[in-house]
Amino acid sequence: MNSLVIYPEAIEQAIAQLEQWLQHPHPWQNYRLTPRSLALLLLQKDPQLWDACPPDFPQRLDIEHLILETQEKLSEPLSLAIAQTRQQQAQHLENQALLITDTPRLSFVEHLHRLTVNPLTGFPILLLILYYGVYKFVGEFGAGVLVDGIEGFFEEQINPVVDQITSQLIPWPILQDLIAHDYGIITLGIRYAVAIVLPVVATYFLMFSLLEDSGYLPRLSLMLDRLFKILGLSGRAVIPMVLGLGCDTMATMVTRTLTTQRERLIAAFLLSLAIPCAAQWGVILGLLAQKPAALLVWGGVIFAIFLGIGYLTARLLPGTSGGFYMEIPPLRLPKLRNVLIKTWVRMKWYFWEVLPLFIWASVLIWVGRLTGLFDAIIRLIEPIARALGLPQETAPIFLYGFFRRDYGAAGLFDIQQQGALTGNQLVVAAVVLTLFLPCVAQLQMLVKEQGLKNTIWMVVFIIPFAFFIGYVLHLSLTLLGVNF
């Protein structure tokens, strides 16, 4: 035997027996592993290997029996015995190869690590990173400056050309609307993916890759694990939640990295309900900027709902949150080249993932308007808007806001410009828009990740809940005599 690692006698015997069996045809021929490696994986009950084994494989029972027999001869779990042997061998090699001459001194990196994880300094650092990285860079620069620039270019240079060409090539206005005009596939769907999603996601991925390569993300997770436990989540869910502040669609997709279905469900639900995306909070901040107290009420209500509903969901859903364990790599200075390549690859992947969703949104709007379905829905929303103390002109905003992020908030902006909205009405509308489903692309991603049934449950809860909270807020502000 020329293997580098020698396992305890019982395991070596089992490996020899398995190697012998594996000389005959078996279900793992295409794995390109040595019989010894295959044998070790089988002994560790590797799920992938066992899934690939058909129930009628003649030796399946023999192998299962052999594993049980081997386990009985050992005092600890088989996989632990294997891991321990490897660890000892690694330790042995390290001792041979490494000569430690000096006790390591406290380096700058070590000091920095301590500052980032010590509660006294770690939380302020965390807030600073979120403020400059997310709020300033993604929110103000990405969702503000860049979006305005690219969208302006689309509206001035591209849309008029598309409108003109379409009107010349297609004589039927109905079909023209599908491609061009206010809600067309090119003038809305593609413009959306390129002008709104792309800059937000580009700045977000850039910031995210920087944080990732610096080794800060695991520290962010460990600092927030306790807070997230209250919501039935673990520190791992910090990443999709922070991503949601960039783009909820992307964040909903990233929930698949969480370890349990329960955690994935809670995370996707909270993202849909209470995490506003950069396009959303960008405009809301603009709307309420002149009224700091109103902004505070909006932020307070959304944060309270995030915590309150998260807490209730965690109590009501059966099961417990998955344990939290994570390696903490040393802090490093990110390499710019790596960060840029990573950002580029992610942007490309994400763009192709969401582009079809936005094209679908255009088609849906086209069908909705053509069939009169949208008008019917708007008439349904009008009395609700009035109950919230809002003028009935705000009704279309809630419907179209779901399809066109900017229309929702920008529509509000237009009405405000005309002086038709009071401060209270702005806060109520902003809260309802934030709690409302983020957008049609996010809804499609939700179906993909959580299935139709769970998605329907969430929608059935979120829509009435958003209006209900708006109503309660309107009532409270009126009763307390608050005027922003």
């Binding site: 779990p77 996989s79 509660p119 695991p218 390696e327």
Partner: protein, 73 residues
Amino acid sequence: MNALSTVKKGQIHTVVALKPKTEQTLIKLMALGIMPGCQVKVEQQFPSYIISMGRTRAALDRETAEEIWVERV
């Protein structure tokens, strides 16, 4: 024998047993290099446990730290 969640900061302990509730956690702990025989040091307990083994560092929540049994070296 004590749970890792109860030992003092800065002292070196030897892991004597892992008693996680799920097989998945056991595999994860082993992958992090936390297994019987290895030496660990608790560096911090709040807001999460931070432990070091050799030149590796890991963060754990309280529940996981309660499932790792150690003895004072």
